[in-house]
């Protein structure tokens, strides 16, 4: 006669219950371990992601911008804008650039019926939408045809739409800017990114307060001049962006006889610089992650191992009254699995809700990725299982007297 597998599992459960306090303490240890690992890993990841997301929202890492260099005081009064001819020359010298958008900007009053709204209006090419990776929500963006014909069309941001049209559909309506009636052909997608500045909830809100017209329309029908103050380009990919930036810098310096009146920046290089300056942070974060893994693991192992002596004696007693090794193994397996899994699941839940709280507090979106939950569970459940079962296996291999005498 001996007990069945099913019965030994039942005994494992009842054993778990008969020592509620110890089981609870161990579960709490595993909850703390799992929780701290999840929170720290997600915190580190969230902060890193925030930076990267900002870059991505601004057109990605392959973007290059050319702007006036305000730091250069320009003693020889070199022209600090490009002419349309120069733009065409530059474009022909860098065929490897995927997109290029020269732009002009004004701050003008926009009016529709009795409503008025003052905001930035940009003269752009169709490439703008490609470079910024920003398309229209409704209608369409400015096309090559609009450029060639210098069409009187305008694309507006969501805030502009809201201010001038409210709930009315603006497409097909006419906005008056600078005494010229512009046909509304599109509404840009709403831009939003959670801000970590107190006082503004949308870090990208300024983009929604812009309007766009064909650059040719602005040059020929608006100001009458072709002074282009800034350029944006997109390299084939992030890796080739620094190369393209250097080439562009050389071309532009050449055009201005070596005077640095323009600033040429690549997002990739900025990101690299940022990454460089963040390196210390990242190392600290990395160390914190490792420490949290260790601490979590040690807390769990410690609680499990603390009871080895008691458990080994218990195993001795059970062996004395006729338990087989298998019975002992199953009893401790069931107990340990119960404890670690309950602890692991609760720890994950507590960790996730804690993250939510922290996330609201520091205004960074912290979402635990599946991989982090898995890492945390692997570490805590893994260590819990090992620390619970290995001593039990070793103890069950002792003969009963050795186990009883264990100190």
């Amino acid at each position: 006669m001996a007990i069945s597998l099913k019965e030994s599992i039942v005994f494992g459960f009842s054993d778990f219950w008969s020592r509620k306090v110890r089981s609870l303490v161990t579960i709490i240890g595993i909850i703390l371990g799992t929780m701290s690992i999840i929170v720290v890993l997600s915190l580190v990841n969230g902060i890193n992601k925030q930076t990267l997301q900002w870059m991505m929202e601004r057109g990605g890492l392959s973007k290059i911008t050319v702007r006036r260099n305000w730091r250069y005081d320009n003693p020889n009064k070199v022209r600090s804008y490009f002419t349309w001819k120069e733009i065409k020359l530059i474009r022909s010298l860098i065929p490897e650039a995927k997109y290029m958008n020269p732009q002009k900007r004004y701050w003008l009053r926009h009016s529709y019926e009795d409503k008025e709204y003052n905001c930035s209006i940009y003269g752009v090419l169709p490439d703008f939408s490609k470079i910024e990776e920003w398309d229209t929500e409704d209608g369409r963006f400015i096309s090559e045809f609009d450029i060639n014909q210098s069409n009187d069309v305008i694309v507006i941001g969501t805030k502009v739409k809201e201010e001038l049209f409210g709930n009315k559909n603006p497409i097909g309506q006419f906005i008056t800017v600078h005494e010229r009636r512009l046909h509304v052909i599109g509404i840009m997608k709403h831009r939003y990114m959670k801000s970590n500045n107190i006082g503004s909830d949308n870090a990208l809100g300024y983009l929604n307060r812009r309007t766009f017209v064909p650059l040719s329309t602005m040059i020929h029908k608006g100001t009458g001049d072709d002074n282009i103050s800034s350029l944006a380009l997109k390299a084939q990919d992030a890796e080739s962006a620094p190369e393209l930036r250097k080439k562009l810098e050389a071309i532009i310096l050449n055009l201005r006889h070596g005077e640095p009146v323009f600033m040429i920046e690549s997002a990739q290089e900025e990101a690299e610089e940022m990454a460089q300056s963040q390196k210390t942070f990242q190392i600290i974060f990395f160390i914190i992650s490792i420490i949290s893994l260790l601490v979590g693991g040690i807390v769990i192992a410690n609680i499990m191992l603390a009871s080895i002596q008691e458990r080994t004696r218990e195993i001795g007693i059970r062996l004395t009254v006729g338990a087989r090794r298998r019975d002992i193994f199953i009893q401790f397996l069931v107990q340990t699995v119960l404890i670690t899994f309950i602890g692991g699941i609760l720890g994950t839940l507590v960790g996730l809700s804690l993250l939510k709280m922290v996330s609201g507090y520091i205004n960074i979106e912290l979402i635990a990725e599946l991989s982090m939950v898995l890492i945390a569970l692997t570490v805590s459940v893994g260590i819990g299982l090992l620390a619970g079962i290995i001593p039990a296996i070793l103890a069950s291999k002792l003969n009963p007297v050795e186990a009883l005498r264990y100190e």
Binding site: I3, T320, V321, A323, R325, N399, L404
Partner: protein
């Protein structure tokens, strides 16, 4: 008639690092079914060592132990577990109860490993708990009991599977005279019911109740067959 227990030239050495400590130096014993045997000897003479080997809780270094005509050294581990469970009841000086289980559960332990149903376990355990006079303490934890009561729980646990052999290693060593004497009465009664009882003791009074006293000194039997 063959002996229930037959021990020939039994040797036990403990290894402590590089030193080997001899505990039994060639012990011969025969014990028949139904005997009440007292083992006496000075501290450190090897009594516990012998009892552990007889109880299949430990193995000898050399020599033969034949239990019920079967050589123990030839028995598989699984079968040994079942022998400890079915045929031997062991009572320790230090009780060795599980502290987190109540009296009822402690006594049920051997029945669990014997594979009895819950109903049967409850019934059998209740019966032996009544026999040792602890019915009103069934739901108590060991820490809530006196030494004598704990030892009675341990005895109940040892006899619950109705083993043919009961081994007790200084069962009264931790008890006062009164409760010690109660415990010994229980062992006498068990012997009268047909259990073979082997008991280690320092107490000459105990030895008087036995059919036979085995004296052990320095791991050797002194005058084995004098009653």
């Amino acid at each position: 008639m063959a002996s229930l227990i037959e021990v020939n030239d039994l040797t036990k050495e403990y290894k402590m690092g590089k030193i080997t400590v001899p505990a039994l130096n060639g012990v011969d014993i025969d014990i028949n079914e139904g005997e009440f045997v007292a083992i006496m000897g000075p501290s450190g003479s090897g009594k516990s060592t012998l009892m552990h080997i007889l109880g299949c809780l430990d193995t000898a270094t050399q020599g033969e132990y034949i239990l019920n005509r079967e050589k123990v050294s030839h028995i598989k581990k699984k079968k040994l577990a079942s022998i400890r469970n079915q045929r031997i009841g062991f009572v320790f000086q230090t009780f060795n109860l599980l502290p987190h289980l109540n009296v009822q559960k402690n006594v049920e332990l051997p029945l669990m490993y014997a594979g009895y149903s819950k109903r049967k376990r409850t019934e059998l355990a209740k019966k032996v708990i009544a026999e040792v006079g602890l019915t009103d303490r069934r739901k108590h934890k060991p820490s809530e009991l006196s030494g004598g009561q704990r030892q009675r729980v341990a005895i109940a646990r040892a006899i619950v599977n109705n083993p043919s052999i009961i081994l007790a290693d200084e069962p009264t060593g931790n008890l006062d005279t009164n409760s010690g004497s109660d415990i010994l009465t229980i062992f006498s009664e068990l012997n009268l019911k047909g259990h073979t009882v082997i008991i280690v003791t320092h107490d000459a009074a105990v030895a008087k109740r036995a059919n036979r006293v085995i004296h052990i000194v320095d791991g050797l039997i002194e005058n084995g067959d004098i009653s």
